[in-house]
Symmetry: C3
């Protein structure tokens, strides 16, 4: 069994932003030499998500507006008593989940034609890390 672990750092310009990462995950899988296995792509913070969806900027805006509607910013979160102001980002992270498993077949990402991977930042403008861990043979 082979394993290969890489940590990527994101520092988004906006507080909330969607970052396409399929190419970087593909490169990490190629480096790993794994032909058959799984790549875990997982945020290392609890205020960001990793999703698989469409490479379409209009949809990205829909996704962010939807997240705001379902898990809105709100000064009254109890979490804010600790001095934080990112309660909504914790809930958005739960809403979209913080990780995906990417299947690897014959050394390549085994996706349908429209599937692309995105890092979704809900509390950025600072360094945030994400793990890619490849396991297989």
């Amino acid at each position: 069994m082979k394993s290969h672990t890489v940590y990527l750092t994101f520092h988004t310009q906006k507080r909330k932003e969607i970052v396409p990462i399929t190419d970087r995950v593909e490169q990490i899988i190629a480096e790993s030499g794994v032909q058959e296995g799984f790549a875990l792509v997982s945020a290392m913070h609890i205020t960001a998500s990793v999703i698989v969806n469409d490479e379409e900027p209009g949809l990205w805006q829909d996704i962010m507006e939807w997240a705001e509607k379902v898990a809105p910013e709100n000064p009254n979160y109890k979490h804010h008593r600790t001095g934080e102001d990112n309660g909504d980002a914790h809930l958005k992270n739960l809403l979209m989940h913080h990780q995906v498993i990417v299947p690897i077949t014959k050394g390549e990402i085994d996706f349908g034609p429209w599937q692309r991977i995105f890092y979704v930042e809900f509390d950025g403008q600072r360094d945030k890390r994400m793990l890619v861990k490849v396991i297989g043979e």
Copy 2:
């Protein structure tokens, strides 16, 4: 390490539909010969989900009505400027997640008594693919 990858195709009669798939996943795991490992069950489109929940048609209706409430159909999604009309299906896919990992112990699905697997279609009436990838020994 063994690996076994199968692609299933669904073509639902209704646009939105819940399809029970536990038996098919069980059969694929049996074919794989894997005794200890994981099966990834993952939609290959970005307008469908895979979930683990209850074999109960009343609940399936509740799930679909809930998805409609939390991520409603809406002509105004920006994604629709591309000519698409399935913005809600992308959001429902994010809401319920597009994949599950099924644990395999002693050659069998290691589930609790009520856990069953479902493919959840949000934009069907056409061929849609789903991957089952078994990894283990």
Copy 3:
């Protein structure tokens, strides 16, 4: 390839409750002897979730209030025609997902500084099981 499977049982005092489980997962990973791999932490019921988030009781309250807002208790769920009264718990389970994959690197959980694991009960006050399955080398 090594595998190690452990079943934990929770019996919460309240019907809805968040239970920190990072220490127990760490111990199971240590027992497994796996240095590089994945631990699947997965509810075996369809009315509970497993999440990764913050060790902060104010936030836990925010999470439970948010779940109630997005997937509320409601006597009118069709699932209740079967005699059940936990329709909301099924939907909350879908909202937060029932499982996470924990990456293992050099024998330890490979988390960011704030990531902690929680079992989230939505229909407790009775024995409920959760699986931890470690796969790797």
